[in-house]
Symmetry: C2
């Protein structure tokens, strides 16, 4: 099989049953955004919006809205905006990564080239921030712009630190907080702000989003190392090839002897393929994955604690369930290491 | 001389004397933005902000502010924001055009590659829109996001219509209105909005910006055909090579015989170099440049009429002077054809 071809399989299905109908409305609203563009541009926007993702950010906005009061049109709009920012960032990511497929469909970069994809990401992004400026409270649009800036800045820092064996764990955590957790946190935090929650609840929901987003990225990083392409539904083993040092690899380097480090260094710089078996032959590979999984699971435990400020509600339970679901995915990574 | 090397010469100096000091403050403020980024990113932002342009958009915001009341911090901020959006769009343009130099300095794309430049444009853009969300009136940030979206959408349409000999003059005008005039108009329109001007004045200043921006782009298009690199201070004769059909070329095609069209078509599709002498040998080249220049000069005449809603002031005169200056540059293009 062509290694760039994503296997046709079932990627993880998050427990979003409670907001399934609402998510469908958001799906329709996202598609409708395409029609607000010039006729020459509509088809491009529609294409990249259609290659439907898991819609985690909209689901978090809806569930937090329900858990902290009620879901309003403003929460739905928040979901649409954050998903558009996310889609824009994926369009640009795919240019940089030279990715040919995303969820079994050709990426915009593969279909229309890098130039058009740069601009396509830009208009999606500008459109999202135009929608954001419609909120009466400018603090909302400011926070959305800030989170978007963090996503891009996190990606820059990650690009900068590729192949950098001096990357520290705190630096790695800062990068994934910016590139992934910032948008998760914008969803949960701003959903609470829209419901005029107390500062304590707003803060707790922001922390929940940050922790969930961080744990999610660590899971994704572990999956890249130990996952099975046919069940993951995407191309794996690409991080190290691109020089991306993720948490399990940083832990591996931490425990490696100087001789092992030199060997890893050489393989990394030469872009030699490194899968489970090869890594396991070099250093304490299982121990490193185990440690990364434990780190992420601890983070999820804290995320569940953040939710304790909320009253009882089905949405509250659903937010707990998401952490439990991710917990299980992490367990699978540990078992596969 | 390497044709991609920009000659060290004096590019056009716009008559911005009246706001020279204010523009220096804006320059400082633009540089200061770099410091709001993470240490790893500051140097990149600082570099692209430093390769100082003409700062036309900030100058228009300041002059319109003065001509419609008084220049406030909000006008200065508008200038900073619009210039950041402009810089972000240039960073992305340079990736697409494969440009190596901009104002005699290596472009971000040439210095750090396309990937980093995509992200660098993104953070600049996100940062500009974050600043925009600080206005109390969300209509301001909405209009800025909208103009930014127009810039990118205009570039997409232009990219789409490269090598398309069916591009019509109205379609071309729509594209340059979006990609260039929209930000000019945001400067003049929003400067009037910030001064709480009457709807008539706001509308007139918006039209002034749209017309000035359109005329400016037509001048730039003519310059690419007929200009002299050593005085223009930039690489010329690139539009046709990239398949960009500009107003003089569209006029040329309009008047060409079928035989001439076939010849032009072939040269365009094969990327054969086409300069003044070659084009003049094919069809009524001087007539086509003349017509484009006349179109732009008529537009400037209308822009001056837009200014008649304003009371007398040095800034009002400066806004007239800008159109007169562009008028002279257009005359030079006509003379060089």
């Amino acid at each position: 099989m062509n290694p760039t071809i994503t296997a046709d399989a079932s990627p993880p299905v998050f427990p979003f049953e409670l907001v399934r109908n609402e998510l469908e409305m958001i799906e329709t609203a996202i598609q409708a955004q395409a029609r607000s563009f010039e006729p020459g541009i509509e088809a491009y926007v529609s294409y990249v919006c259609k290659s439907s993702g898991k819609r985690i950010r909209p689901a978090l906005a809806l569930l937090t809205g329900g858990a902290t009061g009620a879901v309003t049109d403003e929460h739905r709009k928040l979901g649409v905006i954050l998903e558009l920012v996310h889609i824009a960032s994926l369009v640009h990511d795919d240019i940089m990564d030279g990715a040919e497929l995303r969820r079994n469909l050709p990426t915009a970069a593969a279909k229309w080239g890098a130039s058009l994809s740069v601009l396509l990401g830009d208009v999606l992004f500008a459109h999202a921030l135009e929608l954001a400026s419609e909120y009466n409270d400018s603090a909302i649009s400011r926070a959305i712009a800030r989170a978007s800036r963090d996503v891009c800045a996190g990606e820059i820092l990650q690009t900068q630190r590729r192949y950098d064996l001096n990357l520290s764990v705190p630096e790695y955590l800062k990068i994934i907080e910016m590139k992934t957790a910032a948008l998760f946190a914008a969803a949960t935090h701003l959903a609470a702000v829209l419901n005029d929650c107390t500062p304590a609840v707003q803060e707790a929901m922001k922390n929940y989003g940050l922790r969930l987003g961080t744990a999610y990225q660590i899971y994704d990083d572990c999956l890249d190392l130990v996952g099975d392409e046919s069940t993951a539904g995407k191309t794996l083993r690409t991080d190290l090839l691109k020089g991306k040092l993720t948490l399990p690899v940083l832990y591996l380097l931490e425990k490696a002897t100087n001789h092992q480090k030199t060997k890893l260094n050489r393989m990394l710089l030469n872009g030699e393929p490194m899968d489970t078996t090869i890594l396991a032959g070099i250093a304490d590979y299982e121990g490193a994955v185990e440690r990364a999984v434990t780190f992420a699971k601890d983070m999820l435990k804290d995320a569940r604690k953040d939710l304790m400020v909320l009253g009882d509600s089905p949405q509250h339970h659903a937010l707990i369930e998401i952490t439990a679901y991710l917990d299980k995915l992490l367990d699978k990574c540990r078992a596969a290491a």
